[in-house]
């Protein structure tokens, strides 16, 4: 089947089988490898992208389901003005080591902070539980998200 998906404002077309996962389309058909695949079971969150601004596990969608839809991936997070506050905060707080989980965290939490700008620490920790990290032990990530939230609120 021939499908067309918009990723970060650009259009990508390709031939897929119905069983082709969206994560495979993004990475191997569109060649946008910033989105990673860690489990293909919907648990680790490394494959998280945004569909119409909402976070989804791209390993749990068929590519054909995103036909004609708009996605945002980590490559589209930084704007013309430089890194997103979340990206800057991750860097400041040493919230990444091997970096494999990082794009998934960024796409999950950018959406979450947009929807819940006043979330407290417990709420943030629970939202973060949707992404797994094996390197950092999470404390740097929590600090980064709190810092980004403050900046995005204009505190």
């Amino acid at each position: 089947m021939r499908i067309n998906i918009e990723i970060n404002g650009d259009s990508y077309e390709g031939d897929v089988e119905p069983r082709t996962l969206l994560s495979d389309f993004i990475r191997h058909v569109a060649g946008m490898t910033g989105t990673k695949v860690g489990c293909e079971q919907g648990v680790c969150g490394a494959c998280t992208v945004q569909l119409d601004g909402e976070p989804v596990r791209s390993c749990l969608m068929l590519a054909v389901q995103a036909n004609g839809r708009a996605l945002r991936t980590v490559e589209g997070l930084a704007g013309d003005g430089g890194l997103h506050p979340l990206q800057r905060a991750f860097h400041e707080a040493h919230a990444l080591q091997c970096g494999f989980c990082t794009p998934g965290f960024l796409m999950s939490m950018e959406a979450f902070l947009r929807d819940h700008p006043d979330a407290g620490e417990e709420e943030l920790r629970e939202a973060l539980a949707g992404n797994l990290c094996r390197c950092t032990g999470y404390l740097g990530i929590i600090e980064a998200v709190e810092q980004a939230a403050r900046e995005m609120r204009g505190d």
């Binding site: 860690g38 990444l96 080591q97 970096g99 494999f100 920790r125 094996r134 950092t136 032990g137 740097g140």
Partner: protein, 708 residues
């Protein structure tokens, strides 16, 4: 976070610099193995044994399937690939039971690769893999180390009059402990891509690995090719924790497949395979006996350790158990010891180094037994430790190693002060505090580096170390910049490509700063001498020197005995009576890794390691069922902690420099996973009033312990 010493502008050691690596990662510009898509590559899917133990009487390969390039079985490997090599253990014996690339007439664990399908896509390869017919004759599996009668590794050391010490002891304390197997679970599973240029007779292998050297040596040995005919490239690596150190049988298969099919071949492991077929950590039991005199001074240690090694010896399977055995005197001053390690074969996936690699086990066995002893002797557990700590270093242990430097008493004092001990019992919950000390071996062997002055006056350093998240690029740049007197931005690092970096040893056993960093420092120092010879005191800039004498370079090979990091961890835990639920309220990590080059990165290692140690205590267990089937084949069966479970962790560093390298550095990569389990276990026992359980400290275990 981090510390700021009063450093001058050109001092970088000790500075909490943020990482240069981050920008590329944050923008999605990383290239891990599966991000590499060579056009026209054939994809691999493995056929794996569903049985823990079986004879194979035949493999039926389907014919003429759509998109299938080849199906490879053990028969196709004869004359092309031998078994994987087996590394020995110092002072001990290991069996010649190397892991075959593909199973021949026997499988010894569920998940063992039996055949490989190459096809135009992974999906097509899986379609075909389902049609491969393997005639299995299931056999009875052996699943318990103590009852296995096949010994794959053995080490036994006796020092001093052990019998006499135990006979004359005022008190003998005995305890048994069991640490289940753990899965390393790097977020990026394993993978390899191979391509063979027949005209040049050059095999190129990209592999998600901890370094290029061991992959190169393994490929050369298994394929029977000279090392010069193999080029190994390590791309970005998404975590390893020991599991990507030894070469994998699958990597060997990919290499052979590239050579026989003439195609570029790619294998990207999936999560289920990573759980089931990647070598596991821990899986050790010990019976420990401590003999004390009337003043609670430790007279002797006796221990028997059973290691559940799995069906074969992977190259490094025998090492963690040996390390455990050699650390069974812990941080204590005792010169009489009898420690025996029995590495047993079971029908499970092999074990191997996993963050800590034998040191967490030793720390756990010793520290838990010391707490038990304190209770039996009626002495405060910290007081008992203080009476027995090694206080003068270097210290030659009864088990063969010499601890280079340390201040164990200071670490313990600091941990006690920072954890704010608490013990409470009320109708709803129990609170307890526990401590766990450790000493661990790091570094060792040698490491290499080359330093080169670039035409623009910047510095290029090639290192035998290889990063997979630790921040080597930033850390080594700090070291090199300080030595040469340039800015960090004027230093470029090269890692991971066997044709680009000098042959070294690699990244494991917390060796990168102590060994890799020292090699960098020595190479830069040697280059600096050459630069000064050219400049001849004329005040030339580096660029001018490079113009005057292009191609200036120097190399270094730094060799050293093992260095020994140490520390004291404290934990406060709470157990909910009604459910048995365990909450870790806070953890204090005091680590002595000698000189700390970058405190932010060092703390990151401690917290990451602590999270893995907590995982071991709270939720992680790679358990096989009675038939030898893995119950942990997915994240449903094997849990990892999330951000919601992490307690506050206070990390502090005590720095007793090692005399064994120019940096005074030891190793910080694994302390968190080594110190945490003992502290948490002792805290749980404290809350339970002395009752001991083995990890993971699940709800139902603790609930039953409360009612026993």
């Amino acid at each position: 976070m981090g510390t700021e010493a009063g450093l001058s502008a050109d001092r970088f050691v000790g500075r909490p610099l943020r990482r240069r690596e981050d920008d590329r990662i944050l923008r999605g510009g990383t290239r891990y193995l599966d991000d590499i898509d060579p056009p026209g590559a054939a994809q691999v899917a493995f056929v794996r044994s569903p049985f823990a133990h079986a004879r194979i009487s035949g493999v039926g390969v389907p014919d003429g399937l759509e998109g299938v390039v080849a199906v490879i079985t053990a028969a196709d490997l004869k004359g092309r690939a031998g078994d994987l090599p087996v590394q020995g253990i110092q002072g001990g014996r290991v069996a010649e039971e190397g892991h075959p690339v593909l199973a021949g007439d026997e499988v010894r664990y569920a998940g063992q690769p039996v055949a490989a399908v190459l096809a135009e896509s992974r999906a097509l390869a899986e379609d075909a893999a389902e049609l491969v017919e393997v005639d299995y004759e299931p056999l009875e599996p052996v699943l318990d180390a103590r009852s296995s009668d096949v010994t794959l590794s053995h080490w036994h050391k006796v020092t001093g009059d052990v019998e006499g010490a135990f006979d004359s002891a005022a008190r003998v304390v005995r305890a048994s402990h069991a640490l289940p197997r753990l899965a390393p679970v790097p977020m990026e599973p394993r993978g390899a891509i191979a391509s063979y240029d027949e005209a040049e007779d050059m095999l190129t292998v990209w592999v998600s690995a901890q370094d290029s050297h061991r992959q190169l040596a393994g490929l050369a040995a298994v394929l029977g090719r000279p090392e010069e005919s193999i080029h190994v490239i390590v791309p970005d690596v998404g975590g390893a924790f020991g599991s990507k150190g030894a070469p994998a049988p699958e990597t060997m298969l990919v290499a052979v497949a590239a050579m026989t099919s003439g195609r570029t071949v790619k294998w990207a492991e999936d999560r289920e395979e990573n759980f089931v077929a990647s070598y596991q950590g821990r899986g050790v039991e010990a019976d420990v006996e401590l003999a004390f005199d009337g003043d609670a001074r430790l007279l002797a240690v006796r221990a028997r350790i059973w290691a559940d090694l799995g069906g074969y010896l992977m190259p490094t399977t025998a090492i963690p158990g040996h390390t455990t055995a050699m650390l069974m005197c812990g941080v204590y001053d005792v010169q009489v010891a009898d420690v025996e390690l029995l590495g047993k074969r079971t029908h499970k996936v092999p074990t191997g180094p996993y963050r800590g690699a034998g040191r967490p086990e030793a720390a756990y066995f010793v520290e838990c037994t010391v707490d038990i002893a304190a209770r039996e002797l009626g002495i405060d557990p910290l007081e008992l430790r203080r009476r027995n700590l090694i206080r003068e270093l270097p210290y030659e242990t009864a088990l063969g190693w010499t601890y280079d430097s340390g201040d164990y008493a200071r670490c313990l004092d600091l941990a006690e002060e920072l954890v704010r001990p608490e013990r409470r019992s009320d109708p709803a919950r129990l609170v307890g505090t526990g401590f766990g000390m450790y000493v661990e071996r790091a570094g060792g062997q040698f490491e290499t580096a080359e330093a080169e002055l670039l035409p623009d006056g910047r510095l290029l350093v090639r290192s035998g170390s290889s990063p997979h998240g630790q921040g080597h690029d930033t850390t080594f740049a700090q070291l090199a910049a300080e030595r040469l007197g340039v800015g960090v931005d004027d230093v470029e690092l090269r890692f991971g490509d066997s044709k680009e970096v000098p042959r070294g040893v690699g990244t494991f056993a917390s060796r990168s700063v102590a060994m890799g960093g020292s090699a960098v420092v020595q190479a830069v120092d040697a280059l600096k001498e050459k630069i000064e010879a050219v400049a001849g005191g004329r005040g030339m800039s580096l660029r001018q020197v490079a113009e005057a004498q292009p191609g200036l370079r120097a190399s270094a090979r730094f060799e050293s005995d093992l260095v020994f990091s140490s520390g004291a961890y404290g934990a406060v835990v709470e157990i909910e009576r009604a459910t048995g639920r365990l909450r870790v309220l806070r953890v204090v990590a005091v680590d002595d890794a000698g000189t700390i080059v970058n405190p932010i990165l060092a703390e990151g290692q401690v917290i990451g390691g602590t999270a893995q140690g907590l995982g071991q205590c709270l939720v992680e267990e790679a358990a096989y069922d009675e038939e030898g089937n893995p119950t942990f084949a997915s994240f449903v069966g094997y849990s990892l902690l999330t951000a919601a479970e992490m307690p506050p962790v206070v990390a502090k560093f005590v720095e007793t420099p090692s005399p064994l390298n120019p940096l005074g550095a030891k190793g910080i990569g694994e302390g968190g996973s080594i110190g945490t389990p003992g502290a948490v276990a002792n805290a749980v026992a404290d809350a339970l009033g002395g009752t001991r359980v083995d990890p993971p400290f699940s709800e139902d275990k603790l609930w039953r312990a409360l009612r026993s």
